[in-house]
Symmetry: C2
Subunit: 104 residues, 2 copies
């Protein structure tokens, strides 16, 4: 079931959508207009994927549908990855911090 979410974020276009709707709630048209090289329908289908992965929430406002990121599901996905990768939040945290320190 977490599989669907992982497949969803594996697509760069969908990650960009997630980034947009994490900054502010947006109607589908506005989201689509951010992608000049692809049709509105394609974006609508991407939104469908994100919706079925429960990574975005949809709210109706008259004619429009406003999307925003589902922070809770994102957090759940993150926890899943944490536990999967290293069997513990702590070990991962130190690994990430070490890598970040090395970067500086």
């Amino acid at each position: 079931m977490m599989d669907i979410a992982l497949k969803a974020i594996a697509d760069p276009r969908r990650r960009e959508i997630l980034r947009l709707v994490s900054l502010s709630e947006l109607p589908a048209t506005d989201i689509a207009s951010h992608f000049s090289d692809v049709s509105r329908s394609a974006i609508s289908q991407h939104l469908g994927v994100l919706r079925s992965a429960n990574l975005v929430r949809e709210r109706r406002d008259g004619n429009r549908r406003l999307y925003r990121v589902n922070d809770e599901e994102m957090a759940r996905l993150r926890i899943f990855l944490d536990q999967y990768w290293s069997g513990g939040l702590d070990r991962l945290k130190t690994a990430a911090e070490a890598a970040e320190k090395r970067k500086k």
Copy 2:
């Protein structure tokens, strides 16, 4: 370029492989024998995907090829996700911790 890694971990079979080689270094045959419902060749191809995503390291030992997880690349992937999802490690950490606390 992080795309390849994300696509790689989107597959449940490959995640299971990563889990195995994060516990201990293993020859390809041993890895394959963990999957009864799929051929050795399929696992070899999965290993190829993980290798080109730089998520595993390969070491030759005579006839065999020993695989282990590449912790450094995993950490890089994790940092990428952290920054992508919430634009900062701190906000993510608190969100994850809050979700975990809610779970208890």
